[in-house]
Symmetry: C2
Subunit: 330 residues, 2 copies
């Protein structure tokens, strides 16, 4: 028996998130209906098709699943999202039914971890500037020096899956890692090899990385006072959501050049042409790509779907969304 | 009893390699003669002073110690070099006497390891290009994508101390690490978490890092045939010595744009103004700074000297040069 499976991503999106191995996995376990259009389905189209589906495969661009659709989806057992957040994909009420929701967020988190370490090493070592120096002056010029990461104090706000990936990558550097997370006990922190700290202690570290979910409680959580605790020459990284920081204060404090920052997320994306960040040389800007790598995206649907088949066979899932944590979910 | 100690580095060099803690350590254990000149001593000046010294502290710029000087240095027990290679600092005949030679090379190796990982992540993620894109176009442009390091095959030529630092930093990425080193057994490789491989196997990895000492036997060791094994889209890193690669062949193969490379060392330094590397956009150039970081240099004399005092007290030294390995020493 194969699972009736509705594959919502377009061919173009599948090229990104569904490897050859994943297509084989689908053919092996599923009776799939592929999206043959060159565009995402409309809500009406999905509503027409959902009645037969046991598994729904989604990704970026897939239409939101509404309570009305769920009422028609009598056979649905799994929604598997080959992308990150499911909060705008499914209603919380989906958990009232016996439907499991899977997200590839933990796999994406690893790419975000690699982004955080890379952004940090980029700012400490400034190899692109050394390269430009060599090309312009033939050799050394100015007073550029590299800085080591080893043994630095690193502060992490929120022990999310992206934070855990970053913490793992920091391990060989023997950093002192301080974590602020109201939901994690000191004993759990110790198992991660980090110390539980207050938000104020974290913001005083030489290196600070934000991994805060954007929920009503965290809006503008990092304001003027906390930003002023960042030490001179410090480094701030935000790969989570821009809304957690008071942008006006952030701009004001960065304009002094007192500390460095790497931002992958912004209050408005794309950045408006006159945004102050664009003329600052103490910030490293990337266009919301912390979770995007060629290899990471290729792995998304395969990892989620392998986990789904394990779950349907009775195994403990790794990528299933925990309904009890919906409120604090990114 | 304090040790009669000749401190050869200039004040300027001491600011770089001798921390405040190190100065205290010297005052505590030594009866020091500091270099009060604004330049390094001449050979004649060192020759005049060496007779009383029990410990000789050296660094970059210190005059070479000759057999003639050693004949006058009847009380000398330790030469401690707060820098890397000691091969041009002391004659091999120093080991015929009961004089121990210490080098900070293992501490410098750690900074080189950080350089290797940073160069690699810089080329895989290209964050400086993303930043330029955002500033020029306001957001994404072109077909730039990040690549993950996780699970890649990494080939290492020579398991030197710089290679070991790099291997340690690669650990959380779960790479498959292949090492070519004729002096290391498979069992020792396994303890490092790497696999013993042939030079040909190493050169076929997606990522290749050279850590080869520049000795007569290694000159032009990496020639046309080995370079042609590098896979398309591969990455070559050289932080050791340029002489180990046939430059003409390297330039020819890089000009095709077939693979990427990061070079910190060159056949002639500084690079001549018309060097082909300077106009290639698939190479990352740095001016021989792989071992240079602010924090790494600040630690050099302290780490070596702590080890010296331990050794003089009967402990096993960590930074002593092994006379039996002189021939293959970098």
């Amino acid at each position: 028996m194969k699972y009736k499976t509705l594959v919502l991503p377009t061919r173009h999106r599948l090229d990104d998130v569904c490897s050859v191995a994943c297509r084989k996995l689908i053919e092996q376990h599923c009776d799939p209906i592929w999206n043959e259009l060159d565009r995402d389905l409309t809500a009406a189209e999905l509503s027409d098709l959902i009645g037969d589906a046991e598994i729904l495969l989604t990704s970026w661009g897939s239409p939101a699943i509404t309570a009305e659709m769920l009422a028609r989806a009598g056979r649905l057992r799994v929604v598997a999202h080959a992308a990150g957040s499911v909060k705008s994909l499914v209603p919380e009420s989906i958990f009232d039914r016996d439907i499991a929701v899977f997200s590839a967020a933990p796999r994406i988190a690893w790419s975000v971890g690699e982004y955080c370490l890379t952004a940090l090493l980029t700012m400490l070592n400034r190899l692109a500037e050394w390269d430009a120096n060599v090309r312009e002056s033939g050799w050394k010029s100015g007073d550029l020096r590299r800085r080591e990461l080893t043994k630095k104090r690193v502060g992490i706000v929120s022990a999310s899956s992206t934070a855990r990936a970053f913490i793992r990558l920091l391990e060989p550097f023997n950093c002192e890692v301080l974590v602020y997370d109201p939901y994690l006990e000191a004993a759990q922190m110790a198992r991660l090899g980090v110390q539980k700290a207050t938000l104020e202690e974290v913001m005083q570290c030489e290196i600070i990385s934000l991994h805060i979910p954007s929920i009503p409680e965290t809006k503008h959580m990092i304001g003027a006072e906390l930003l002023s605790l960042i030490p001179d020459g410090g480094i701030l990284i935000n790969s989570s959501r821009a809304a957690v920081v008071e942008e006006h204060e952030l701009i004001a404090q960065l304009q002094s050049g007192r500390f460095l920052a790497a931002f992958d997320v912004f209050h408005a994306e794309p950045l408006r042409a006159d945004h102050p960040f664009l003329s600052m040389d103490n910030v490293l800007l990337t266009p919301h790509i912390a979770g995007d790598t060629v290899e990471g995206h290729q792995a998304l649907m395969y990892e989620v779907l392998s986990d789904v088949f394990g779950y349907l066979g009775g195994a403990q899932p790794k990528y299933a969304v925990d309904a009890s944590k919906w409120a604090i979910l990114a």
